[in-house]
């Protein structure tokens, strides 16, 4: 069978029309790329100018140069990197735990669909709860510290992740499961050969969403129970009226 690899087109054999089409596509990509950079630089310049000329109040809005100076200072004394490191570590652990428990729960519910149906409404309720409201309760249970912050990080994403992954497992084409049955396969084989590998794209897309959600949860946790980390730094900045630090 003849297959064509579009990434390795032989440009010498292209017609003038095709060459023009490719040139136009390339130009379009460059235009979008540079427009984004110019837009960002333009925003920073406008902010700096507005701050320098007093169009906005420096106390409340700060300026890019002041933020850059503080950033450089905090980088040099390693304090910022330390806070970033802590937040990343907490977010990373929360993220991995979300994935681990979501796969575990969704797999369990797929093997025992009655339990899945039983737990589904509770998961929907837990998923729709405002998670920042849970944080004070978690502090009461576990005190302040790493465990509380990680649990806050997990609470934001885990229920949605379990629900989505379970629904995705449930929607596996029944004919594919029948295929495994026709070979005399077990439910475990149906899971390992069809259900799990077939849902890897869903797993990856859920992972992308949950990296962000874990960070949000960890920052909320650090707001309330942190002694280190970016959430703590933001709260500290707002409490000492350092808008530069806050931003």
């Amino acid at each position: 069978m003849k297959t064509q690899n579009h990434n390795t087109l032989d440009t010498t054999s292209l017609t003038a029309g095709q060459r023009e089409f490719l040139r136009h596509q390339k130009l379009q990509k460059w235009y979008i790329f540079w427009s984004r950079i110019i837009l960002f630089i333009g925003f920073l310049l406008l902010w700096q100018t507005a701050s320098d000329f007093g169009w906005i109040d420096k106390f409340y809005f700060s300026s890019p140069s002041a933020i850059a100076k503080l950033f450089w200072h905090d980088i040099q004394d390693m304090s910022l990197l330390n806070h970033i490191g802590i937040t990343l570590l907490e977010s990373g652990i929360s993220f991995l735990l979300i994935l681990f428990f979501s796969v575990l729960a969704a797999t369990f519910f797929w093997f025992y669909p009655s339990l899945g149906k039983m737990f589904e409404p509770f998961l929907i309720v837990l998923n729709s709860l405002p998670k920042s409201a849970l944080a004070p309760l978690i502090i009461v249970w576990l005190g302040t510290g790493l465990r509380t912050i990680i649990l806050c990080g997990m609470s934001v994403g885990i229920f949605g992740c379990i629900l989505n992954l379970y629904q995705s497992f449930e929607q596996t084409d029944p004919e594919r499961l029948k295929l495994i049955e026709t070979f005399g396969g077990t439910k475990l084989q149906a899971f390992t050969k069809v259900v799990f590998p077939g849902n890897i794209p869903t797993f990856i897309s859920l992972s992308k969403v949950n990296i962000g959600l874990a960070l949000v949860g960890v920052i909320i946790g650090e707001f309330l129970a942190g002694r280190r980390g970016l959430g703590y730094l933001i709260i500290y900045g707002s409490q000492v009226f350092s808008r530069v630090s806050f931003l």
């Binding site: 295929l179 590998p197 077939g198």
Partner: protein
Amino acid sequence: MKASNQHHSFLRLDHVAFSYYSNLGEVNVLQDLTFTIEKGVFAALVGPSGCGKSTVLSLISGLMKPVSGFITFYSEDFSAPRIGYMLQHDHLLEWRDIYHNITLGLEIQKTKNKENLAFADQLLEKYHLSHVKYHKPSALSGGMRQRIALIRTLATRPDLLLLDEPFSALDYQTRLLVSRDVREIIKSEQKTAILVTHDISEAISMADVVFVLTKSPCTVKDVIPIAFEDSGIKREDVRKSTLFQEYFDTIWREMQDENTEP
């Protein structure tokens, strides 16, 4: 389901009945279904839509159990038969290459040994598909995918092949070519096969015997042996022959009667 060596027959369904329950009550799908298939025969089941043709295959394969009646396989050594099942769609797994799709059945049956892998390779070679061995299924045409699905089934060395409308997802031209190839492959591997189809032409051109089923609850209405070879007609020319038209008219009339009967 039981195995016996009493006859030369390969498979016998004896007064088989099947029903299921829904919110609307009990639905009788099969009632007193009796037929026999000889070893090495390619049989086709045709009947009105929804009459329970696919249910017959599910019962033979053991995926479902009959409410009453017997399904008997006759073998010389009393061993349980190996059954290969080909579904309506190829269901090739996109995350596996062709080779690993073909060996899926062997993996599941835990028979992925050197001998069976060599047999899978032989099948690919024999049916001119070795060049796509490491391709992903998405790179293959519909017809090729269906041939691969057949090889995946054959790789497990089944004694009986069940084909559940395996060409219904293909366009007409591909369907003609693939059905011809599939018959040739099944005949050259000397397999017993049962094809379920709603396409009368397909049944006549592929099978050695056609069972016409009644509407649900389904029983066998007529058994029509297809004997092109006796009239000296080659299989590739059957669709052009008057005998083909005669078979078609007979089966069509039987099925029309089913649709008009109250």
